[in-house]
Symmetry: C2
Subunit: 243 residues, 2 copies
């Protein structure tokens, strides 16, 4: 793990780092020492580790809960080089959708492919973060919707250190088998008029999650229109399970 | 409005009353004066205005939010005389279910019939409560699941003083038209393995509610197994919209 920059503002310390070739960011309370809960944030498609929504969520989790929060760039996003193989598949998929194919199964298959790379990457980043004195080996939470759900479901299923997860805006096609291995508490977001993920697919993914404590929160609106009050719910959810 | 008894314990004043022939109960903070938000609780089938769950919810709403809370007995329940007409329909329905008919549409039709009586009753009770100095004409919320949803949907649709409602464990069959007239914020509960209300019926009722701010909370478990943490959500929901 190599730190490349550090800044602080309004009580939040932000450190950029790399673990192998994976660029990441760690937010912690300024001056914090000792072990604390860690939330890993997975960003959406076309976004990156420091997209405005990511920073906003991180600052609230650090400021209001005293947690550590970290995010990394998904392959082909943010500070990572473009990946020819993924780009080729994405272009192919665009052409297939233009030709009338359904979008959801194509996206799901693509995310399942990328997850084969990101699951081990994220586990390595988690190993490194837990070595830090101001993070430590405390309870871990995961937050990710859309692409962050497609990559998050296999990660949460594979990683026993994750003890609570917020997921959603994702469908069942590629994730059912991994979802059936998730037994930690889950808060699952559905946008009732999601133009990208068919409602039945979302409900099927919620259904497939094996956790006995899982809550689906559905709100009206499109894929990108999660209401602001849901973030309050996520904070309380993490405090209840990790805090 | 006639008060028939009054007790106080642990900071909560409990007054029994009748409005015409309708017996009710009002909970307020001990020593409270002045206008405050009022939550009307609708009880479930076979329960009554002071069933343990009703008292538990009322005490938390009074104690933690400073609200007034009231409930009345539905016809044929609690301190009300049995109603031969309703009893006959209920027995008929039991026989029809035993003979293989689907339960959900029968229940829904029955609740729609009872609502023709309870909507004007509840509005009269609300009129009387808002005349009291320690309640006043503040914002009103409604809470009701199962029977409390079947009777609550037409009430909330008809009563403009209700500004936020928790509903759920109910299906669309009888309520779609009334649900389409509900425009206030709604928190809607679904039990994912509800043995009484088919999941598709629940989702259809949520879908039919016209409110732009409505959130569906679905949890695993049967009809009677709403997890305890949902009550925390209801309190925050009412504080956000009425508090």
């Amino acid at each position: 793990m190599r730190f490349t920059s550090e800044t602080s503002s309004e009580g939040v310390r932000e450190q950029l780092f790399t673990v192998d070739a994976v660029p990441g960011v760690l937010w912690t309370p300024e001056g914090a020492t000792g072990t604390r809960p860690l939330i890993l944030l997975g960003h959406g498609g076309g976004q990156h580790k420091q997209a405005p929504g990511m920073v906003f969520r991180a600052r609230r989790l650090v400021g209001e809960c005293g947690f550590a929060v970290a995010a990394v760039d998904v392959p082909g996003h943010g500070d990572r080089p473009t990946d020819e193989r993924y780009d080729r598949i994405a272009s192919d998929n665009q052409a297939r959708v233009a030709a009338g194919e359904e979008m959801a199964p194509l996206i799901a298959a693509f995310q399942a492919l990328v997850a084969r790379q990101t699951v081990p990457e994220w586990r390595a980043v988690l190993d490194a973060l837990q070595e830090l004195a101001h993070v430590g080996a405390g309870p871990v939470g995961y937050w990710g919707v859309s692409l962050g759900c497609g990559l998050g479901v296999p990660f949460v299923a594979a990683e026993p250190r994750v003890r609570a997860a917020v997921l959603g805006l994702g469908g069942a096609s590629a994730s059912t088998e991994a979802a059936a291995r998730i037994t930690v508490p889950v808060q699952f977001l559905v946008q009732w008029h999601d133009e990208r993920v068919p409602r039945a697919e979302s409900l099927a993914l919620f259904d497939a999650i094996a956790a006995t404590e899982k809550t689906l929160h559905a709100n009206p609106g499109k894929h990108g229109e999660i209401p602001a009050f849901e973030l309050d719910e996520h904070l309380r959810f993490y405090v209840r399970h990790l805090g």
